[in-house]
């Protein structure tokens, strides 16, 4: 009997032991077919092995090498059998548009990509005028998924209308925010989707060259993207696009461990081979970006959402969502979380539904004390704010931001003064040094929090004043948004700051 197994090769699955499971399968069933895929995004089940039974993929997890013999002997009776993978509630309740193929196919198999709906968007794009393509993106309501939420179509239009001998598409894959891993998961699981999105962006704006700026902390994603670029050139997804005569090619560039390079102007400097310092805006990168030329700088998820918009139409995408937040958002459930992973759904779910119902609360089983939404520069939220719907404006109104849609959960043992101090310390370590509020402010912020810890009564006022200066005076979001976690921690959990004051007195 010929058997087909699917096992993720995603970094999270490997970190939980997937390679040892793969070796055990090869040893126990040398004739079986083993396809390494991306991850379904249910990290608590990793390594999540899938076995095709009567055309349906059945899941087993978390699998250890010692389970293989038992699974081979009696798959459906095995204690780790989960039934059909797509029926698992965490998966079934999602709306997978951007991540439709992630976890399903072998990431760099061009034939599988085409068989699962890949290239449909590009084919349609090639039949449209550039202006109509930009209108399509505008109609989809797609906004920058990196965190800023700027309408993608408007950015593309600025580049399209700019006159230049060379334009560029730059993909920001410098996903440095803790609590976020959607970019990594997409690049490791379905890299052709990102490439197709970049190619479509190239046609729409008149750019013929693209770069993916990928952080060095993601070696697996770098390897997969490099392999995918080579396969895409062979398959007509790069170069002469599907034989249309339209040209687009791209390179993968690796960062060098600077968090600030996730900021678009600093990223462009880094890509040019300079120190990753922030540039003042204007000029906008859309007019003077990489090498001074008009450049689209979009996040991985923004670009990877483009193929589904073109394949199924802007309306189908815009049907999802809430208010001015249209389409789907891949929410990443991280930190002290029971059911951690990636959950793609239309905007509008409440924070509480995501944290309590989908994520199942904490891994430790203790009460949720706080969640940080949007990475290290995002605000903390306490349970009394859990009715906030997931959307750009809604989170802004609640004093936070959705950022890259990572939710990091903390149980009641979290020390919020310590977390506030870490936010300042991180800003000090990672500041590019160009503007004073960030470079000096972060260092002073650490000092003020240390003084609060030791009971200094005036430190809080100085800290709040400092945060105002950083917020209003910094050139980019690093210095400008570090006050979000600091002040939200202070306002929501004054006891964590006050208790220490009393203890010291």
């Amino acid at each position: 009997m010929s058997m087909t197994f699917y096992l993720p090769k995603d970094a999270s699955a490997r970190a939980m032991g997937a390679d040892a499971v793969a070796a055990a399968i090869t040893k126990a069933a040398p004739d079986a077919k083993l396809i390494r895929t991306g991850t379904r995004g249910m990290t608590w089940l990793e390594p999540l092995l899938e076995l095709e039974l009567d055309g349906t993929r059945h899941g087993f997890g978390p699998v250890e090498p010692g389970d293989i013999a038992g699974i081979l002997a009696d798959p459906q009776g095995h204690p780790k059998a989960l039934g059909p993978v797509t029926d698992i509630p965490f998966f079934k309740t999602q709306t997978r548009l951007t991540f439709a193929r992630v976890g399903v196919i072998a990431p760099t198999d061009m034939a599988a990509y085409g068989a699962h709906g890949g290239l449909t968007g590009l084919r349609r794009a090639l039949s449209m005028s550039a202006a109509a393509m930009v209108e399509e993106v505008k109609a989809s309501g797609l906004r920058g998924r990196g965190g800023a939420g700027f309408p993608t179509g408007i950015k593309w239009d600025t580049v399209r209308l700019a006159n230049a001998d060379q334009k560029y598409i730059v993909c920001n894959a410098d996903e440095g925010d803790s609590g976020t891993f959607a970019d990594r998961m997409l690049m490791e699981g379905d890299p052709f989707t990102l490439i197709e999105g970049m190619a479509i962006a190239g046609i729409a704006t008149g750019a013929t060259k693209g770069y993916v700026y990928l952080r060095s902390e993601y070696p697996d994603a770098i390897a997969t993207m490099n392999a995918a670029v080579i396969a895409a050139r062979k398959g007509g997804l790069l170069g002469d696009l599907l034989g249309s005569g339209q040209q687009f090619d791209m390179e993968i560039r690796v960062g060098a461990g600077a968090y600030v390079c996730g900021e678009e102007t600093s990223l462009l400097n880094s890509l040019e081979g300079k120190r990753g310092v922030v540039r003042a805006k204007p000029p906008l990168p859309a007019l003077e970006g990489f090498m001074g030329k008009p450049t689209v700088v979009n996040n991985v998820i923004s670009l990877a959402s483009v193929p589904t918009i073109f394949a199924n139409g802007a309306a189908a995408y815009a049907d999802q969502g809430l208010g001015r937040s249209r389409g789907t958002i891949p929410v990443q459930l991280a930190g002290n979380v029971k059911f951690g992973g990636l959950f793609e759904a239309g905007f509008g779910m409440t924070l509480g539904a995501l944290v309590n119902d989908i994520a199942g609360g904490t891994a430790t089983g203790r009460p949720v004390k706080a969640v940080q939404v949007g990475g290290p520069l995002g605000a903390y939220f306490a349970p009394h704010q859990f009715d906030t719907p997931f959307g750009y404006e809604e989170f802004d109104g609640a004093g936070g931001l959705i950022g890259h849609a990572g939710i990091t959960i903390y149980d009641d043992s979290a020390d919020m003064l310590g977390m506030a101090r870490f936010a300042m310390e991180f800003c000090a370590v990672e500041s590019c040094g160009k503007c004073t509020p960030c470079r000096i402010g972060a260092v002073r912020g650490v000092e003020m929090l240390d003084r609060m810890k030791s009971g200094d009564p005036v430190a809080q006022e100085v800290l709040e004043d400092l945060c105002e200066t950083m917020r209003d005076g910094s050139l980019c979001a690093l210095g400008g948004f570090t006050p979000y976690p600091v002040l939200s921690a202070l306002r929501l959990f004054p006891d964590d700051f006050a208790a220490r004051k009393e203890a010291a007195e």
Binding site: F181, A221, V254, L271, L333, G335, Q372
Partner: protein
């Protein structure tokens, strides 16, 4: 003075990157891959080839955390210090590892075997805390898993 072999090897790297737009980071990654660090005397050679100032190259080398001016130990352990890992007790895992190895962040053990570095996010935030021993990723890391990975790496 750089030895002739080093000069030749760097020259080969430089030539291989001719024609790239913004080639400096790829060049520095390749140099570090070759030598395990960025040799001081590589800086003027790179600057001359790219027709930019030595200060510019030096500035870039020192700006980025990845580039080393001293060789790492035979194995590099990276332990995540960022928020999602903190939420799962990452600080305690890191403290125990540093104490056991008898070194500080960025330090190398006395026998030159292990360098320990902080990393701010490996993207393994849903199986935190996370660490990396050379190329091997570890999720839900604890002292036992870290020890096992180090033992395996040394074997």
């Amino acid at each position: 003075m750089p030895d002739a072999s080093q000069t030749d090897r760097i020259a080969a790297i430089l030539t291989a990157h001719d024609g790239l737009e913004g080639p400096l980071l790829p060049i520095l990654h390749a140099v570090q891959e070759e030598f395990g660090l960025i040799p001081d005397d590589a800086v003027p050679q790179i600057a001359e080839h790219l027709n930019i100032g030595r200060a510019e190259v030096h500035g870039v080398v020192t700006f980025y955390h990845d580039f080393r001016d001293a060789p790492a130990g035979r194995h590099v352990v990276k332990i995540c210090r960022a928020e999602a890992c903190k939420a799962m007790g990452g600080d305690a895992v890191a403290a125990a590892a540093l104490a056991k190895l008898g070194t500080e962040w960025h330090g190398t053990t006395a026998n030159g075997k292990v360098t320990v570095e902080p990393v701010y996010c490996l993207g393994l935030c849903s199986c935190a805390p996370a660490a990396m021993v050379d190329d091997r990723l570890i999720g839900r890391v604890d002292a036992g898993k870290l020890d096992a990975a180090l033992t395996e790496a040394s074997a």
